[in-house]
């Protein structure tokens, strides 16, 4: 259904930019935009080399945003993220050197490779929209969007993010390998020069902030809210789930759904939006029971079954 419906004009330009660079990544592009527009962040879980960096760089370039990249390593310090005050002997005072977190769009690569201390520096920034350096609170730039990646293959020497911190990410995505045809196409495109050189910004930062406001104003009916709550409640009683999704998850789902509706140029949310987004929003916010894990279930699958069985409100009560 969605493919037949027109995208929002502004968003369409961004997406077409991404399409020029990335092949077969509309879904991830759209979902990244959902997170961006909803003021949230994305956790990408995938192997290296499938275009995570390219996606986020294209996004930054299209939106005329400041792009920063942090490569997380075990010896990375919090100050490497937030920035550091350095004594300037000439001026006789400490001078703040801004860290990469003070960009607009930040790619936090392999976030699970660094120590929890450094992780929490980033995550605090994501949550508080500010960082504290040497006792000074420094507000982050707006818009601010983090795309963190983690490699699911290597567990050696990693610090998996705790559940509470996973909660900071609005969506969790997987990129996946391109289809063979798509990969061939990719080789063709990059043979001479990389297409990212050719794209230009289609939106200013200010416009983006305006869009974020508009997303906030998307109407969500009581019925749809009820539907979200139904889904959340279902995760709390599902036998395969040890810890269900929190009310914060419901809020996240609402925000994401509004952004999604906006992307499809609707000023109201329909249950389909919620239904589509629920696995991305909820699956990293629940913990499966050990039995379910041993049975080979993933939280995505469990959320999918919940979603495909939850009653969709289809009747209005007239008073």
């Amino acid at each position: 259904m969605q493919e037949t419906i027109l995208y929002n004009e502004k968003i369409e330009k961004v997406l077409s930019n991404i399409n020029r660079v990335m092949i077969g990544k509309e879904r991830e592009a759209t979902l990244s935009l959902v997170a961006l527009l909803a003021g949230g962040h994305v956790l990408l879980e995938d192997v290296p080399g499938v275009g995570k960096t390219m996606l986020v760089r294209t996004l930054a370039k299209s939106l005329d945003c400041d792009f920063r990249r942090i490569q997380f390593t075990p010896d990375l310090l919090p100050s490497d993220v937030t920035g550091v005050s350095i004594y300037n002997p000439k001026e006789m005072e400490f001078e703040f050197r801004a860290g990469p977190i003070l960009g607009n769009i930040v790619l936090a690569d392999e976030i699970n490779r660094t120590s929890p201390k450094t992780q929490s520096a980033l995550l605090e920034g994501m949550e508080e929209k500010s960082v504290t350096v040497d006792g000074n609170t420094i507000p982050l730039n707006a818009p601010f969007f983090v795309m963190a990646t983690q490699n699911p293959i290597e567990y050696e020497g990693t610090y998996p993010l705790p559940e509470a911190q996973l909660d900071r990410f609005l969506l969790k995505l997987k990129m996946g390998y391109p289809a063979p045809d798509e990969e061939v196409e990719m080789l063709e495109r990059t043979s001479t020069h990389h297409p990212i050189e050719n794209i230009t910004a289609v939106m200013t930062k200010e416009q983006l902030i305006g869009v974020q406001e508009e997303v906030n104003n998307v109407y969500m009916d009581h019925h749809v809210k009820r539907y979200i709550v139904n889904l959340a409640a279902a995760t709390r009683t599902h036998p395969a789930i040890f810890l269900g999704s929190s009310p914060r998850a419901s809020i996240a789902l609402m925000k994401a759904a509004k952004a999604y509706a906006y992307i499809y140029s609707r000023d109201y949310v329909v249950p389909d939006d919620v239904k589509y987004l629920a696995p991305f929003v909820l699956s990293h916010r629940v913990i499966l029971t050990s039995e379910a894990k041993y049975d080979g279930l993933t939280s995505e699958q469990v959320i999918q079954t919940i979603v495909s069985n939850a009653h969709v409100p289809i009747r209005k009560e007239f008073r």
Partner: protein, 741 residues
């Protein structure tokens, strides 16, 4: 289905199905020999088999046409034509036959058609059926209609013709259920695109099907079966057409009612609740018409030809009881209903005076007590008349104590018995009356004998005595089931074997009380309605000094005659027994009611239980018809409920705009789709559903309607413009048309 050859059901299996169809078709042909004058059935069966085989192999159409056509001509040839096959002469005579028959057809002289032509048409029919059956069984795999038609055909033939379909129905059952199973299985395989290959290897899947069918057949065959609850419809239809009386002649089944010929009793009859007359009377009593005195072993006849005497001024000189019997004077008005044709007077005991139209003449035959009504020398049936009568009340003690000898003429005439009467009837009578020492007690003993000894009151399945069999003997010792004629005849015959003069009386019972206390305060009447079903026969026993006293041996009926005990010459013994007499009747009641008497009758002793019963039965037909109609209406209503709702909603939708109406219409659509097997799945959103529906019907309407509905539901957009409403209405109607198509 055509996508892969592996999905195709193998030829072997479709042929099995087709051959089951052939066997079902044979069930249509088998009875032909019995119910028509067709001979050589084997040839038709062979031809049918031939046609079916040709169809099965799906030859080129021209080849199959040629083969079937030539075979048909060859059969005609061997059956009818003496010339060389397809020679000039042969063709000529064939042409002549044909021309003649076509002419007969055109002129609608169906009977002139020759055997050759009829055979030709029949063979043609078989030929066409082979095509039709191929289509039904192999192409469509829809066989229910044919099976249903076969069952109807077989049952109708079984019911209405001489054809015995016992075996046929079992065969039909087995064949059709195996065919159902196969057809359904193949349909599912087609429908779900299951590869048949794996099934080819093994026929195990067939085993449960056959086992289930055989098992249910065996159970059905071995299980006890209820007798039919409904009377056989054939006699009812026949008697409705002929209007025969239940006391009428001969064997077979009759409709109940008053009839004149009682010379051959027996056989079943069906109830007929057509009202005959209404009577305003003070009390219930028998409506006597006549008595008969000669028992022939098969029925009753009068002993001599009637000699009628005209009764002056309606004064009837008929004495059935002695002047000494205590009487009470009453009046009753009889009014006939509809076009009943009884050209005789129906009268209570003690009739004195009749008032009717002035030119009516009353002719009395003293021998039988029959009073014919005439006007200007012609028999007429009166519309209404009034009878004044002295209603007798017999003193039980007097009846019991009578010792006088019977007058010799009465003794001779009313103890007549056929020589062929088996001796065991008399022995039984002696046995029953062994304890009684007087005539009254003997009569009572015989009267009440039937209530206790395994006799059943019923009107259907009553045998007619065979040649050499006695009607009474058959009832007493053989069938033990019957209706008034059986009971009354048996009592008369048994009393006669004891030398007690008795005769057989017939007429009507008092009928059903339909109104209470009509008329003046000091002169009130009850109104009774008497129907054909109240036609009855009972017993009159002669008592010297009292006359003819009515008795009622029939189960479920009680004696309408008044008995009393004279206080003056009462002795203790008599009182006991006098009280006992009616109470005996009472005791029998519950048992008798349980036996479901079919005729309405007196309520004096029995309260109105039996009368209610009769009322129930009268209306049963209407209740049945009403019930069936209601059921049909309900089914029709249920089937058409969506259509009605659609109409109502579309009217509403046209007139009223607004979210609520739209929601109602939209949800009606959902229900309609659900009814068409396209229910929303749990967890499905409207968009997903709409997409599915639009894909299914190749439309876009559902998507558009859903879009609007979503706006209303999820965007709280309540108002809609006039043009929007119109468009939505259009979309909605189109979609409903599409769904209902």
């Amino acid at each position: 289905m055509s996508a892969s050859a592996t999905n195709k059901i193998p030829f072997l299996y479709t042929s099995v199905l087709y051959f089951l169809g052939f066997f079902l078709f044979l069930e249509w042909i088998y009875p032909v020999q019995q119910i028509t004058d067709t001979s050589n059935l084997a040839i038709f069966i062979v031809y049918a088999a031939f046609c079916f085989i040709i169809s099965m192999f799906q030859m080129k159409w021209w080849l199959s046409f040629l083969l079937k056509g030539l075979t048909m001509l060859f059969i005609i040839h061997t059956l009818f034509l003496p010339y060389t096959f397809l020679s000039k002469l042969w063709l000529q005579s064939f042409y002549i036959e044909f021309a003649f028959n076509i002419q007969a057809l055109v002129q609608q002289n169906w009977y002139d058609m020759t055997a050759l032509f009829r055979s030709f048409l029949f063979l043609l029919l078989i030929w066409l059926m082979s095509y039709l059956m191929y289509y039904w069984f192999v192409v469509m795999k829809r066989i229910f209609l044919f099976v249903l038609l076969t069952v109807i055909y077989v049952t109708i033939l079984d019911t209405f013709t001489v054809y015995e379909a016992d075996g046929s129905i079992v065969r039909t059952f087995i064949i059709s259920f195996i065919a159902f199973g196969l057809a359904n299985f193949f349909k599912v395989i087609d429908h779900e695109s299951i590869r048949f290959a794996w099934l080819k290897k093994t026929s195990v899947w067939l085993v449960p099907l056959i086992a289930v069918v055989l098992f249910s057949t065996l159970v059905g065959y071995a299980a006890p079966k209820f007798a039919p609850k409904w009377p056989d419809p054939v006699p009812f239809l026949k008697s409705a057409a002929e209007g025969a009386g239940h006391s009428g002649a001969g064997s077979g089944i009759h409709k109940v009612g008053y009839g004149e010929d009682d010379s051959r009793l027996g056989g079943s009859f069906v109830q007929d609740y057509t009202p005959v007359f209404q009577a305003a009377a003070k009390e219930e009593h028998y409506w006597r018409i006549e008595t008969k005195d000669v028992y022939t072993g098969k029925g009753w006849e009068p002993s001599k030809d009637p000699s009628y005497q005209e009764q002056q001024d309606g004064r009837i000189a008929l004495e059935t009881f002695d002047p000494g019997v205590e009487t009470e004077r009453h009046e009753t008005i009889v009014e006939f209903q509809g076009n009943t044709n009884i050209e005789k007077l129906l009268y209570p005991y003690g009739i004195r005076q009749v008032e009717a139209e002035s030119d009516t003449e009353f002719l009395l035959d003293e021998n039988t007590g029959e009073i014919r009504t005439q006007a200007n020398g012609k028999d007429v049936s009166l519309a209404t008349y009034t009878i004044t009568y002295d209603y007798p009340s017999f003193a039980i003690d007097q009846l019991r104590e009578t010792t006088a000898e019977d007058p010799s003429d009465i003794k001779e005439k009313y103890t007549q018995l056929p020589a062929s009467l088996p001796a065991r009837v008399g022995e039984l009578a002696k046995e029953i009356t062994a304890a009684a020492d007087n005539r009254y007690d003997k009569a009572r003993a015989v009267e009440s004998y039937f209530g206790r000894n395994g006799f059943t009151y019923q009107t259907n399945d009553i045998p007619v005595p065979k040649r050499g069999q006695d009607y009474v003997d058959q009832f007493l010792f053989d069938s033990q089931k019957g209706y008034c004629d059986n009971y009354s005849s048996s009592m008369v015959v048994m009393l006669r074997t004891l030398g007690i003069p008795a005769r057989w009386a017939k007429g009507f019972t008092s009928g059903e009380k339909i109104a209470d206390n009509i008329g003046d305060t000091d002169n009130t009447y009850d109104v009774y309605e008497v129907t054909s079903a109240n036609a009855h026969s009972w017993v009159e026993v002669y008592f010297p000094g009292s006359g003819w006293v009515p008795f009622e041996p029939t189960q479920g009926f009680s004696n309408l005659t008044d008995f009393h005990v004279d206080v003056e010459n009462l002795d203790e013994n008599a009182q006991d027994e006098a009280v006992e007499a009616p109470s005996e009747q009472d005791k029998e009641k519950p048992e008798q009611e349980m036996q479901q008497e079919k005729e309405a009758e007196n309520e004096t002793a029995t309260t109105s239980a039996t009368a209610d019963n009769s009322g129930f039965r009268v209306s049963w037909g209407y209740v049945g018809i009403g019930g069936v109609l209601l059921l049909l209406l309900a089914i029709a209503g249920y089937r058409l409920r969506f259509r009605f709702k659609t109409i109502i909603l579309s009217i509403k939708f046209n007139r009223k705009t607004g979210a609520k109406t739209f929601q109602e219409a939209y949800h009606h659509l959902l229900k309609l789709l659900k009814h068409s097997g396209l229910a929303m799945e749990p967890g499905q959103t409207l968009r997903e559903y709409a997409k599915r529906i639009d894909n299914r019907y190749g439309t876009h309407e559902m998507g558009m309607l859903t879009d609007h509905y979503e706006r209303m539901l999820y965007n709280n957009k309540m108002e809609q413009s006039q043009t929007e409403t119109k468009k939505l209405n259009e979309l909605w109607k189109n979609l409903i048309k599409r769904i209902s198509a």
